[in-house]
């Protein structure tokens, strides 16, 4: 224990600097003045909002670009990812993920197949100008799924008046030979503006510092350290049209993302199968079976009216998410050895999900005086979900939800703020029954007599209703700030939790839902204690959360007989769960050019009832410390805003496990980064260079879905980002 303290102090005195997002205050806006306004607004939000949040801007995203957007955000304290390969990451906030974390783009909830582990976020990372991560339940404005937290993304900021411009961006990575290119064009007269972004990303197979991986004790040799068939590509387009008047702003956003990504061929299917290595090893850039193809279409329309006291906002959204998962037909269970030609789907279509979502929101705010404000809103959503393919996981379903909320904000003086809110949600979920397309024997006997088309899921028709509420208090006497927040939030069970009945092809398990689950409820206490002066800043965010009925996928001792290889059966159940933890951030400006930082996070979860009483929850992030030292100069010869940084990630061993997890040893890895703005004739070129995992350390990530098959994380990786902005002022007629 003393040793630990000494070690920590030693580390501290060695110095370090979190490139904590909030501080990446290098000017984004050589181009856009508005950005700066937003920045200071977020600082103010961070102070007066009683929930603990992390704010990051375009520059942070540019300088710390990772394989995908969620991996970039995963570097923030209290935020991590559940990964399945380099292209697919899910946001994890304080250990909660999937349908417990909501992603919002321009005020509208991003709706896709959040429940699936191999389903990444269908978002063009280049379009994101600003990201805010709310750590803790924010059910109040967002409803059901925000029980763990919210990732708010803002894209398409309004350009300066009377300008034409854009930028071209390149991003390259050596580990998987990734090349990303993004072209941005914009134009604004006084009152009308438009912005268009086209991006493409192509990446080859991931490389890991290992010659082989052990997939459930079967050793698969890797060719030249390549993870077979993990290559992928993305093609994205994003168009925004905006118009504004004195007290009004409107905008229309149309975006389409399309991605195709291979699954690690050695670890997909019913069992760890030997794959055709010759075929896969021929090229590291081809995408062969098994793979997934996802298209997400989004149309959003926003109107904002703001007067001196009264403001009104409307949001309308239409989204369609189409996901096809392909793998060669392999009969399993009692599927016929050769695929019959009488069916209406392709034998190689493993699964397909097609979801359409309609969203409508209305939000108003009224300022009674300088000290009192009321915000009220209503939001509704309608979803249609269709399935296809040979394998069953979740049934077709329709879901409607409606929420109504009110929030009151009171300020007594500049230092003391309070906020109280209440919300009611109503949900209706209707699932369709599903029957196998092939017959199975009904008897347990080895000489079956009767063969039937088994019903995998019965139809379900359920209504859910629940109250959420929160009370928050901020006391900010400079240089201190203290914020406390108490809340109750809820989450409607999803179709998968109620009606799943199928093989999880990534985990070699069989998952079964429970149609009688009750809505998940959570009570949370959350606080921020911060101190800041000119040179020094410290933030401490402790939290405590209690779930009387956490929905949990429980591995049992049963095996499935009818569908697959005798996979272990996991049932959705509910248990009492207690969670607590904290994040800490320190920043020390040693000199005008030198700053050091430290961030640390710990999280503890415990199931207090049920068959896993005493165990933690799955995918518990390990304790972690992140140290960094950053040197920066506003001018270094011709280079502006030059910086260089060393980051050290120290992650503890995770031995708090729940079946089927395995202990993940701790690791230390070092990253380097440097960059600046280089003027080249009349252009400014933004450059950011990163060396990730400098010493090519072989380490494991406990929250990777491939942890179970002993797949190490990527080795040394050189990443270079370039951005070349251009702008022209239009003639102003006045």
């Amino acid at each position: 224990m003393l040793k630990t303290i000494h070690a920590c102090i030693l580390l501290l005195s060695m110095g370090a600097a979190s490139s904590s997002a909030t501080e990446a205050a290098v000017d984004t806006s050589l181009l856009l003045k508005e950005v700066q306004i937003v920045q200071s607004y977020s600082e103010q939000q961070k102070q007066t909002n009683s929930l603990s949040t992390e704010h990051i801007n375009r520059d942070y995203l540019f300088q710390n670009q990772q394989g995908n957007l969620m991996k970039t955000l995963g570097q923030l304290p209290g935020v991590s990812n559940i990964d399945i390969g380099s292209g697919m990451s899910k946001p994890v906030i304080r250990g909660l993920s999937f349908n417990r974390v909501l992603v919002v783009e321009n005020n509208i909830k991003h709706e896709a197949q959040q429940w699936g582990v191999d389903h990444g976020l269908e978002m063009d990372a280049y379009t994101v100008d600003k990201a805010v991560v709310i750590k803790g339940p924010a059910s109040l404005p967002y409803g059901s799924d925000a029980i763990g937290g919210v990732v708010q993304l803002t894209s398409g900021l309004m350009p300066q008046a009377n300008t034409l411009g854009g930028s071209i961006e390149f991003h390259g990575k050596t580990n998987n030979d990734l090349l990303g290119t993004s072209l941005w064009l914009y134009g604004r007269s006084e009152r009308i503006w438009a912005s268009l972004r086209l991006s493409r990303i192509d990446r080859g197979d991931d490389k890991v510092p290992a010659d082989s991986v052990d997939i459930y004790s079967y050793r698969a040799a890797l060719y030249k350290n390549h993870l077979r068939n993990t290559a992928g590509k993305e093609r994205n387009a994003h168009l925004t049209l905006g118009w504004l008047q004195d007290h009004y702003q409107g905008r229309l956003t149309l975006s389409r993302t399309h991605s195709k990504a291979g699954f690690f061929a050695n670890a997909h299917g019913l069992e760890p199968r030997n794959v055709d290595s010759r075929l896969h090893d021929r090229s590291s850039r081809d995408i062969l079976d098994p793979f997934q193809e996802v298209t997400h279409l989004k149309l959003l329309q926003t109107n904002q009216w703001s007067g001196a006291r009264f403001a009104l906002e409307t949001n309308l959204g239409y989204q369609r998410n189409l996901r096809n998962e392909w793998s060669p037909y392999v009969s399993h269970g009692y599927m016929p050895a050769t695929f019959p030609d009488s069916l209406d789907f392709d034998p190689d279509l493993e699964r397909a999900f097609d979801k359409s979502i309609y969203t409508a929101q209305l939000k108003t705010s009224y300022k009674m005086d300088d000290n009192r404000q009321i915000v009220a809103g209503i939001n509704g959503e309608k979803q249609f979900n269709h399935i296809n393919g040979r394998g069953f996981m979740i049934p077709e379903f329709q879901q409607n939800s409606l929420g109504i909320y009110a929030l009151a904000h009171r300020r007594w003086n500049t230092d003391l703020h309070a906020e109280v809110g209440l919300r009611y949600d109503l949900g209706h979920l209707q699932t369709q029954a599903y029957q196998d397309w092939f017959p199975s024997p009904t008897t347990d006997d080895t000489n079956p007599s009767e063969w039937v088309y088994l019903q995998r899921a019965a139809s379900i028709d359920r209504y859910f209703g629940a109250w959420s509420g929160s009370v928050g208090l901020s006391y900010v006497p400079q240089p201190w700030s203290v914020k406390v927040h108490l809340g109750k939030s809820f989450r409607m069970p999803i179709a998968k939790e109620l009606a799943a009945n199928g093989v999880n092809y990534h985990r070699f398990s069989y998952e079964v839902g429970d149609p009688n689950l009750s809505p998940e409820t959570s009570y949370q206490w959350d606080a921020t204690i911060a101190y800041a002066n000119n040179r020094f800043r410290i933030d401490w965010n402790p939290f405590f959360q209690y779930f009387p009925n956490y929905i949990y996928l429980n591995p049992t001792s049963e095996h499935d007989r009818l569908y697959g290889n005798g996979n272990q059966v996991y049932y959705y159940t509910q248990a009492k769960v207690r969670r607590y933890g904290s994040e800490i951030q320190l920043r020390f400006q040693a000199t005008n050019h030198f700053e050091m930082g430290l961030t640390g996070e710990i999280l503890r979860s415990k199931q207090l009832s049920g068959s896993k009483k005493g165990y933690t929850l799955p995918f518990s992030p390990p304790d972690a410390l992140h140290l960094s030292t950053k040197w920066h100069r506003s001018k270094l010869g011709p280079i502006q805003q030059a910086y260089a940084a060393i980051d050290v990630e120290i992650v503890a061993t995770q031995n708090r496990l729940v079946p089927p997890e395995i202990t993940t040893p701790g690791h230390q890895i070092v990253h380097l980064s440097m960059g600046g703005i280089v003027p080249l004739s009349s252009q400014n070129i933004h450059i950011a260079l990163q060396v990730r995992n400098l010493f090519n350390t072989k380490y494991f990530n406990h929250t990777s879905y491939y942890r179970l098959i002993n797949l190490p994380e990527p080795g040394r990786n050189l990443a270079l980002s370039l951005r070349i902005p251009f702008q022209r002022l239009l003639n102003q007629k006045k």
């Binding site: 004790s217 030997n274 080895t446 101190y531 001792s557 095996h559 005798g566 079946p659 089927p660």
Partner: protein
């Protein structure tokens, strides 16, 4: 306010929180299938016969408690395509690869008596000669065993066997 003082306090707090709170009374060990048990049948390379009964003898163990309901799963499926999985599979003595015509499939799970930490199985499996489509294909098969304990920890063994007509 002295920053170093705050630093020290908070660091100690982290250290305290990190160093306590581990549960020791939960089971974290997987069950085992002991293939060195002398009676074990089948082992890699053993042959089973269509139209006869095979007796499966395995020694199953767990540090705490074996599972009971459907906790042992046995699965036999053809390996005519020479696919491969899990430990113990010995690929040294395979017949040439071929396409399945009427391969034999067997998937069954078995209950174990409750509250045991060691159990020796004696499971009779009756392998039929044929189905409506005719005689089953003889050749290379995989014999795949999966075992769970009461807490849901699982272990797998895959064996390479032959099933032939006498």
């Amino acid at each position: 306010m002295k920053p170093i003082g705050i630093l020290f306090l908070l660091t100690s707090l982290i250290a305290v929180l990190t160093s306590c709170g581990q549960d020791t009374d939960i089971d974290s060990e997987k069950p085992t299938i002991d293939l060195t048990y002398p009676e074990t049948f089948p082992l890699n390379g053993d042959t089973l016969y269509f139209g006869s009964t095979a007796t499966i003898k395995l020694r199953l163990q767990d540090n705490n408690q074996l599972g009971s309901t459907r906790s042992l799963s046995i699965d036999m499926h053809h390996n005519f395509d020479h696919h491969s999985h899990s430990t113990e599979v010995d690929e040294s003595n395979l017949d040439p690869a071929k396409s399945p015509v009427n391969p034999y499939v067997f998937i069954q799970s078995y209950d174990l008596p409750p509250n045991l930490n060691s159990y020796d199985t004696e499971i009779q499996i009756n392998l039929p000669k044929q189905n409506e489509a005719g005689l089953y294909d003889s050749g290379d098969y995989h014999f795949f065993i999966s075992l769970t304990d009461a807490q849901g920890w699982s272990t797998q063994k895959g064996l390479s066997i032959k099933i032939v007509h006498r």
